[in-house]
């Protein structure tokens, strides 16, 4: 059964990312974005029959979807929490699609976000809380610096095998910051950077510099996924879900089968196959970027360039919204900010704005087809989407 185009994104709602979580709670944030997304979709809350949420940040994960439903007084026929780490945003869309495909739901509300700060993992206790028992036993005693050291080790080996340079990685952060400077919602709006700025910023975990590392913040993103036959009569032009794919190869980076090849090879292949398109058909990208190396590996593993050629590819490709292959036009999480699991969802909402043609100053010219990717853990879990303007 091919699910291509059976569902569409019909509403989005989002908060401007902030470093100041004062007065905010995670449930409150989810309520704010739910209200915005339903208004955007022209739906009443009574019409929502599915609820898919990302994991909470400060709250207990126990019966989390039910906690959210109670807060919003929603009574959906289908509730789920998607735990794919950073891929939870795209993962919510993937699961919403299945709920619609099986006829269980017509309108699924997907909610991500929460209160998050830079101190979130800064104690041993907090760090252990996001680790498996086995990582706590066999990795933690050696002092990994959270996800920073994991992605640094991927970058280090990529450089060793393929000659990738710090300048090439820095270019990704620079192009994305250029995009953020046309996006007033972005955390780093109005703060352009150069390759020299990136390379002059402190090395946190070699070879990664401070400006190659995502900034945790507070915020939220919501998306409404509707059955396609409903979507055509709704206020916004539908953004069709044409392809979806998931893939997972490990949890801890120390157990990754090949540290320079991610399961995006699996998730992207499925998504392309379902959509009936190839990388060459894609107009623009909206892909998870917790670190610069994440984008580089995504470009390779999703087929935009051969394995190992990501460095020269980004150096010679204009990734800005004016460029030949626009990538992360809202700045990506590196410049938009990482409002917990809404960081991953922001790649979906930005793709929707671009496909609708409502991205303002940073509107891309060719906006028919977008490759979206969510990445969770230490390159562990991937969920790719192909979103498009039409089903033709």
């Amino acid at each position: 059964m091919n699910l291509r185009g059976i569902a569409a994104i019909t509403g989005i709602g989002e908060l401007k990312p902030t470093r100041n979580p004062e007065g905010k709670t995670t449930l409150g944030i989810l309520a704010e974005v739910a209200r915005l997304a339903l208004a955007d979709a022209g739906l009443t809350k009574q019409e929502v029959d599915g609820l898919v949420v990302g994991p909470p940040t400060e709250d207990s994960a126990f019966m989390w979807p039910q906690q959210v439903a109670e807060y919003l007084q929603l009574f959906p026929l289908f509730l789920d929490m998607v735990e794919m780490g950073g891929a939870s945003g795209t993962g919510c869309i993937s699961r919403a699609l299945m709920a619609i495909a099986t006829g269980r739901c017509r309108h699924v509300l997907c909610l991500t976000g929460g209160v998050w700060g830079t101190g979130i993992f800064n104690t041993l206790e907090a760090r252990t809380a996001v680790m498996s028992t086995l990582e706590a036993e066999f990795d933690l005693p050696y002092g990994p610096m959270g996800f920073n050291s994991a992605y640094a080790m991927a970058a280090q080996r990529h450089m060793h095998l393929y000659g990738t340079t710090p300048e090439q990685l820095a270019k990704i952060a620079v192009d994305q910051r250029y995009n953020a400077c046309a996006c007033p919602q972005a955390l780093f709006y109005g703060k352009p950077i150069t390759v020299a700025d990136v390379l002059d910023s402190p090395v946190i975990v070699s070879p990664l510099h401070l400006l190659e590392i995502v900034m945790p913040c507070t915020g939220g993103s919501a998306v409404v996924v509707s059955a396609a036959e409903r979507a055509v009569d709704m206020p916004r032009p539908p953004v069709y879900v044409l392809g979806v794919g998931e893939g997972c190869s490990h949890n801890s980076i120390a157990r990754m089968p090949d540290i320079t090849t991610t399961p995006i090879t699996v998730s992207a292949r499925q998504a392309y196959q379902m959509a009936g398109v190839r990388a060459g058909d894609i107009d623009f990208l909206s892909v998870y970027d917790c670190y610069t190396i994440t984008v580089l590996l995504t470009l390779e593993d999703a087929g935009f360039c051969p394995k190992g050629e990501g460095g020269p590819f980004v150096a010679s490709t204009d990734l800005t919204y004016q460029g030949d292959l626009p990538c992360n036009t809202h700045g990506g999480q590196l410049s938009w900010g990482q409002p917990s699991y809404a960081g991953g969802m922001s790649h979906v909402t930005e793709a929707v704005r671009q496909i609708r043609g409502t991205a303002g100053l940073r509107q891309v010219k060719r906006n028919e087809l977008c490759f979206v990717n969510g990445n969770g853990g230490a390159l562990s879990q991937q969920c790719s989407l192909i979103l498009g303007k039409s089903t033709h």
Binding site: L124, P141, G143, M145, H160, S206
Partner: protein
């Protein structure tokens, strides 16, 4: 200052840590598919056989990848900065996390031959670590 994190052993991994305490690196070897595995399990992740036997290793390997940690948010490691956090690939196949110790920062590189050494981090608890292989 927070205490250095100490491995919390399980009934499945106890033997590994007992041997480490004596300065030996033992891994499970599958008697069905002959592969060594790490971390310790109750079934082989390659063939799902439950015939796993603890086997001594050479303690030798090479650096698969590494990072030099210049900043850490873990209190217990601030006095060690900068330090090398690595994934070591053992001769027997499996990879494990480790610090590369007794190694100047400008000498660390991918594929560097390394050998196991044991660092006492708590009474009776020795952590397998790796240092450049001395011929």
């Amino acid at each position: 200052m927070e205490k250095r994190p100490v491995p919390k052993t399980s009934p499945v991994s106890e033997f590994f840590w007992e041997k480490a305490a004596r300065g030996e690196l033992w891994l499970q070897k599958c008697q069905n598919c002959s592969q060594f595995i790490f971390y310790p399990r109750v079934v082989c992740p390659h063939c799902f056989s439950d015939k796993l036997e603890w086997t001594p290793t050479s303690g030798k390997g090479k650096i698969y990848t590494y990072t030099v940690v210049y900043r850490t948010d873990l209190d217990a490691f601030t006095d060690k900065l900068p330090y090398i956090y690595a994934i070591v690939e053992l001769e027997e196949g499996p990879r494990m996390s480790a610090n590369i110790i007794n190694c100047p920062l400008d000498k660390v590189r991918i594929d560097l031959p390394v050998e196991v050494v044991f660092e006492e981090i708590a009474p009776g608890l020795r952590l397998p670590q790796f240092q450049p292989h001395r011929h």
